[in-house]
């Protein structure tokens, strides 16, 4: 117990606390000036806005994927199930360079979109694509076990009471998996907000256009503007902590929910 706490403190807690100490050396006005500068605000806006959009896309497509994997039997199902984990396992730098290559104007997908006037690589849309890629497994892997364990009798009861299939899914199945869906959504969102490797290749990284918050931290650090890097990082850290506690609460809610239905 003591060892656990000591090791956790040495590796995680003490290093993270330096962010608070460093920022405490700034006056409040200095802190506000840094995090509300145009470039920082734009970076926050871009990171959170696109992460939210990507997590939403993952929610929609993740639901479709999880429904297909759990409810249907079809050739290739196990293969599809296995490749869902690729974004977890594939290093982000590899994802970054390959997505950039695919979506650049000379790339396989970018080449098809260019005549339509859609540019993906080196625009915010490219960041969105990268964030959808890395966030995909979260919704699927969070909802999958819950949907698998879902008691079929509820659906049968609904059907035998005369509910149509769509109504059964909407009124019986959906409420049972809402906690898991929300957990998956928040996990994808939290991951996307902090993502660096896969994004910086495809983003183009133009300040005030396609520069994400984690990259701005790195840039400030390279410029030896430690105060700026630390203040921006602190904002990100506090938001990550909020996400973490939200995810925990959601997970307990999911457990409660699935416990009830069994």
């Amino acid at each position: 117990m003591g060892t656990t706490l000591l090791w956790l403190s040495l590796i995680v807690l003490i290093p993270l606390s330096t962010l608070f100490f460093r920022t405490a050396a700034l006056t409040f006005d200095q802190f506000i000036a840094i995090i509300s500068s145009r470039r920082a605000l734009h970076a926050f806006e871009l990171s959170f806005g696109l992460s939210f959009a990507a997590a939403l896309a993952n929610l929609v497509f993740g639901s479709i994927v999880v429904w297909a994997l759990v409810r249907y039997r079809f050739p290739g199902r196990r293969l599809l199930d296995a490749i869902v984990d690729i974004p977890f396992a594939l290093p982000t730098a590899v994802a970054g360079i390959v997505l950039t290559t695919l979506y650049a104007e000379s790339g396989w997908i970018g080449g098809l979109l260019a005549p339509l006037g859609i540019r993906v690589a080196f625009t915010p849309l490219g960041i969105f694509v990268a964030l959808v890629f890395i966030g995909l497994p979260f919704v699927v892997r969070t909802v999958q076990p819950v949907l698998e364990d879902l008691d079929g009798e509820l659906e049968e009861a609904a059907a035998s009471l005369g509910a149509g299939r769509w109504m059964t899914v909407r009124r019986v199945v959906l409420p049972s998996i809402v906690p898991a869906l929300l957990t998956g959504f928040t996990l994808a969102l939290a991951r996307a907000v902090g993502e660096y490797g896969s994004v910086i290749f495809i983003a183009g990284n133009l300040p005030n256009y396609s520069e994400i918050a984690p990259l701005l931290i790195v840039i400030r650090l390279q410029e030896f503007r430690y105060a700026d890097a630390t203040a921006i990082a602190l904002v990100m850290l506090v938001i990550s902590l909020l996400f973490l506690f939200l995810i925990n609460a959601l997970q307990r809610w999911t457990e409660l929910h699935t416990g009830k239905s069994q």
Partner: protein
């Protein structure tokens, strides 16, 4: 569908009444089973639309990029591919990555087993908070992980001047790379072990102790073998992340080719230097690592389910 032969059967008056009744009862049950299955079945067009959307989405977003890595890697032929891998800088990056990953895996395995054991087998206040804190590195940007170690050990950091005075290099060197990698892979092993150890309880350990086994003996003969597959599973995921980590190591590495570049950083250096085929050749190693990891993952999940 199967109602038809049953109906035919029932019309055969040659059958004794008792048999007829049992056939009718079975037909009723069968019909019920069919109806139950029907209640959870979607119309065929919905089914195939959903499957097509799922397969299309996964194929476009995951399958295509994966295939593209290997095609780009061989864009300049097999000779160029092998040359890229045999390059001294690549070999140095591979060596560094293996060292960093080994250190992280060992550190987090030792901590993971001890930590999970303490959390699972003892009751204390604040347990839930402790578990949450252990998961903390998962929800923090890898860039922030790198930054905090620069703030601690960098030249401008709290311990920087002391380290310089004693000639110890942490940032822009192996210790820094290992530290941030331990940080970002911190939860992998311990989080696999906690639920399993909790579930197994303390009965077997108590039995071993009461039969005269030593504390350490009990740990190595009872506790550890009971969780070996979960431990391996955690190590597998920890290793994959340690070898592939980019953001955190990018902050603390000096980006010196052939010296402080890990494989992912070497990929970036090649890519930024417009050596695309070489970048993808080295990246294909990491993609292979991901595929091998996933295969072992499926195998280990099967083992874990058996238990």
């Amino acid at each position: 569908m199967s109602a038809l032969p049953v109906a035919e059967l029932m019309q055969e008056s040659a059958l004794p009444d008792a048999l007829n009744e049992s056939v009718a009862a079975r037909a009723a049950i069968h019909a019920q089973v069919l109806r139950r299955a029907d209640a959870r079945a979607d119309p065929p067009w919905v089914k195939w639309l959903v499957i097509a959307l799922a397969a299309g989405f996964l194929g476009l977003f995951i399958g295509l990029p994966l295939i593209c890595v290997f095609i780009q890697a061989f864009a300049k032929g097999a000779a160029a591919y092998i040359a890229a891998l045999a390059d001294p800088d690549t070999l140095s990056a591979i060596r560094l990555t293996l060292i960093v990953a080994a250190i992280s895996v060992i550190a987090n395995s030792v901590f993971g087993v001890i930590g999970a054991w303490a959390i699972a087998k003892f009751e204390f206040r604040g347990k839930h908070l402790l578990i949450t804190l252990i998961e903390l590195p998962f929800s923090i940007s890898p860039v922030i992980a790198g930054l905090v170690f620069v703030l601690l050990f960098g030249l401008q950091g709290y311990l920087g001047p002391w380290l310089v005075a004693h000639g110890i290099k942490v940032i822009f060197a192996l210790p820094g790379l290992a530290l941030v990698t331990i940080f970002v892979t911190f939860p992998f092993v311990v989080r696999e072990l906690i639920p399993l150890m909790r579930q197994q309880g303390t009965e077997e350990e108590e039995a071993a102790l009461s039969l005269g086994a030593s504390g350490l003996g009990t740990f190595f003969r009872v506790t550890l073998p009971n969780v070996k597959w979960a431990l391996l599973y955690g190590i597998l995921l920890c290793n994959a992340r340690a070898m592939g980590e980019f953001g955190a190591v990018s902050v603390v590495s000096g980006h010196v080719r052939g010296d402080t570049n890990t494989i992912p950083l070497h990929v970036e250096a090649l890519y930024d230097g417009y050596q695309f085929a070489a970048a993808f050749a080295v990246a294909s190693l990491l993609a292979l690592l991901a595929l091998v990891t996933l295969i072992f993952k499926v195998v280990l999940e099967g083992r874990l389910e058996q238990e």
